[in-house]
């Protein structure tokens, strides 16, 4: 009887096969050509097939070899959510709010992912890093992003 002996590897193998399928599917319009004159689709298609083959081998292995006993996984969904959403929010708000407020929001937002965070520290750190990043990036390295964007008109006009 086949039994999944290493669940983590089984999922890993299946994921690799899915990735291979995904790239083959989205690359289906690319011309593959032949080995003499390879089209743009040749290399990615071959690699996707190879990845699926490796994925299959990983699955086979997961059916034969037991998983080693490891530490139980700790999941911290709140932290994942905040840390990943932070940069996305940064990207969405940057042009509108400008660097300084976006940075402050980002820092204060992601800092709450830690169970040791406290508001006073986070806000101080956020203010400090906003000032630093404005000085370093907009003044010194002259990135094309202003300290305050169009969404904060008052301060923007003052500066």
């Amino acid at each position: 009887m086949l039994k999944i002996r290493n669940g983590r590897d089984f999922v890993g193998g299946v994921t690799m096969i899915c990735v291979g399928l995904l790239f083959i599917w989205f690359g289906r319009e690319l011309e593959v050509g032949n080995s003499f004159q390879m089209g743009p689709g040749y290399f990615p298609t071959m690699l996707s097939l190879l990845l699926m083959a490796i994925g299959a081998l990983i699955i086979v292995q997961s059916l034969m070899v037991h998983a080693e006993e490891g530490e139980p996984e700790a999941w911290n969904w709140k932290a994942y959510f905040l840390v990943i959403l932070g940069p996305v929010g940064f990207g969405l708000l940057l042009s509108g709010l400008g660097l300084a407020p976006t940075m402050l929001l980002l820092i204060v937002g992601v800092a709450t992912a830690s169970r040791y965070a406290n508001w006073r520290h986070s806000i101080l750190l956020g203010v400090f890093l906003s000032v630093c990043s404005v000085l370093l990036f907009t003044k010194l390295l002259s990135l094309p992003v202003s300290a305050f964007g169009p969404w904060v008109p008052l301060i923007g006009e003052l500066l």
């Binding site: 890993g12 089209g39 490796i54 840390v83 990943i84 940064f90 990207g91 992912a113």
Partner: protein, 499 residues
């Protein structure tokens, strides 16, 4: 002698006040980052790379190299003082270094690490200066077939030296290679996997990708098992070594340097593997082997020399062949491309100032590190007390601005966020991120050379075995693979990584 003229040229570049300054900044930042646990050199270099965009190529690469070997130094400081290796390559240093610190000999341990590293760095730099030009000269005759085989060898070897499952490491390489095909196909101009997103026509940006899978992903993992570090560090005194100490460290430093210089050239975990191997060797051959684990000075001297030598010689394949052996070198290749330099054997002849300047700067950087580290040790100790809950938001902030500044576009920030999710999911399934990045960087080069070789041979794959050079490279790759797969070696490999 040619080499002296070259080194003179290098010195005149490296000792320019501006380059000395950037080298110094690099060493300083690198040490600081190395000291801070939870932030590896790959993530650091990715994060700081955008700052160097505005610099001239020499200064940019000198600074990045400084960050890299500065991080090696800094990592050993934390290993000795609080038994917390800042970098993977100083894991073994912690064993005896921390014991020495507990016996009140922290100063001696740090001095040993600094002097051993300096010696090893100097030797490895000379080695680099001597070995690189002839290697590059050989590589100049490489055709597409040889390049393809060389890259295959590099990828295979990096898998062999990685920890964990071989199959999974291969999967990561292939995944990385596929990700490398995203963007406009160079030969035909056809867009691939771009989904009509204009930013994707140039491909995924490797800096954003590596910040995601190394920088942000590390934070996610650290937050899972977050606990406040209580750092009880005493003042470090007694930096001077006794005569007896010197006598004991000479042989281990020499052995560590030799081993590290050799292992560093190999693709994969260069510096880390070197320090593990050096410690294992020392444990067998040292006359004081009974003291190992209880604070033997040899147990600090050997791995520290080895990891620094390895870090230095890992530049050899990158500078001479344009092939990165580890993720840090992959970022250096990326930095060169951004600076408009095509990495490869031509760098030595086309950009002698850059090449020799970098080599000499490695030596001067090592000297700076010794001068920097020993007196400033108090400052580094103080950095250890920065709590992680203040550190990680700052890292995320810098990654965001860094990603934005690559192309002045928020698209790269989203790419970074996306790859932090991918990297994290992969790490949950125990896939290593390093081979993925290596595959991603080498992918376009691999494809281009494969297609050119096949065009030359009119679709006959035997071109890869007809050229003697290409054939020997492929045979070497097969041998490496066979060695890793053979049961006895794989058992040893497991031991080495679990030790």
């Amino acid at each position: 002698m040619d080499i002296f003229a070259n080194l003179w040229l290098g010195a005149s570049t490296a000792f320019m006040p501006m380059n000395l300054f950037y080298g110094f900044i690099g060493c300083l930042l690198g040490t600081a980052i190395g000291v801070l646990p939870g932030l590896g050199p790959t993530a650091t270099i990715a994060m700081l790379l955008p700052i160097t965009f505005g610099l001239p190529p020499e200064s940019a690469l000198i600074m990045l190299a400084g960050i890299f070997y500065g991080a090696q130094y800094g990592g050993s400081t934390t290993a000795v003082l609080i038994n917390l290796p800042g970098e993977s390559s100083s894991v073994v240093t912690a064993i005896d270094g921390y014991q020495m610190a507990r016996n009140g000999r922290a100063g001696a341990a740090l001095a040993t690490a600094a002097l051993g590293s300096f010696f090893a760095g100097s030797v490895a730099t000379i080695l680099l200066a001597v070995a690189a030009p002839p290697l590059a000269a050989v590589a100049l005759n490489f055709g597409p077939a040889e390049y393809f085989s060389l890259m295959v060898l590099g990828l295979v070897a990096s898998v062999a030296l990685a920890s964990g499952s071989l199959l999974k490491a291969f999967a990561m390489i292939v995944f990385g290679l596929i990700l490398g095909t995203i963007g406009t196909d160079v030969e035909s101009g056809t867009p691939r996997y771009v989904f009509d997103i204009p930013e994707l026509y140039d491909g995924l940006n490797f800096v954003a990708v590596s910040m995601g899978i190394f920088g942000i992903c590390e934070i996610l993992r650290n937050l899972e098992s977050e606990h406040e570090r209580s750092v009880g560090v005493k003042r470090v005194t007694g930096l001077m070594l006794t005569k007896e100490d010197f006598k004991r460290i000479i042989a281990p430093v020499l052995r560590g340097t030799a081993l590290g210089s050799f292992l560093g050239v190999l693709p994969g975990g260069g510096a880390m593997l070197a320090s593990f191997a050096a410690y294992a060797v020392e444990k067998r051959v040292s006359p004081n082997r009974a003291e190992f684990g209880k604070g033997a000075i040899e147990g600090v001297a050997a791995p520290e020399s080895a990891n620094n030598a390895g870090a230095q010689t890992s530049f050899i394949p990158m500078l001479t062949l344009g092939i990165p052996g580890n993720p840090v070198m992959a970022l250096m290749v990326g930095a060169m491309i951004i600076q408009g330099i095509t990495p490869g054997p031509n760098v030595i002849s086309d950009e002698p100032e850059l090449f020799w300047g970098m080599i000499v700067s490695m030596w001067s950087g090592n000297l700076m590190l010794v001068i920097l580290n020993l007196p400033l040790i108090g400052l580094w100790v103080r950095m250890l007390t920065v709590p992680y809950h203040l550190l990680f938001p700052a890292i995320i902030g810098f990654c965001c601005i860094g990603a934005y500044s690559i192309n002045n576009s928020v698209f790269d920030v989203f790419v970074m966020a996306g790859f932090s999710v991918i990297g994290f999911a992969l790490s949950k399934m125990r896939f290593e991120p390093a081979p993925l990045l290596l595959g991603f960087i080498l992918g376009p080069m691999l494809e281009e050379n494969l297609r050119r070789a096949m065009l030359i041979s009119q679709g006959d794959p035997s071109i890869f075995v007809r050229s003697p050079l290409s054939l020997s490279l492929l045979i070497f790759a097969v041998v490496v693979l066979a060695l890793v797969l053979s049961p006895s070696i794989s058992r040893k490999r497991e031991e080495a990584f679990t030790e």
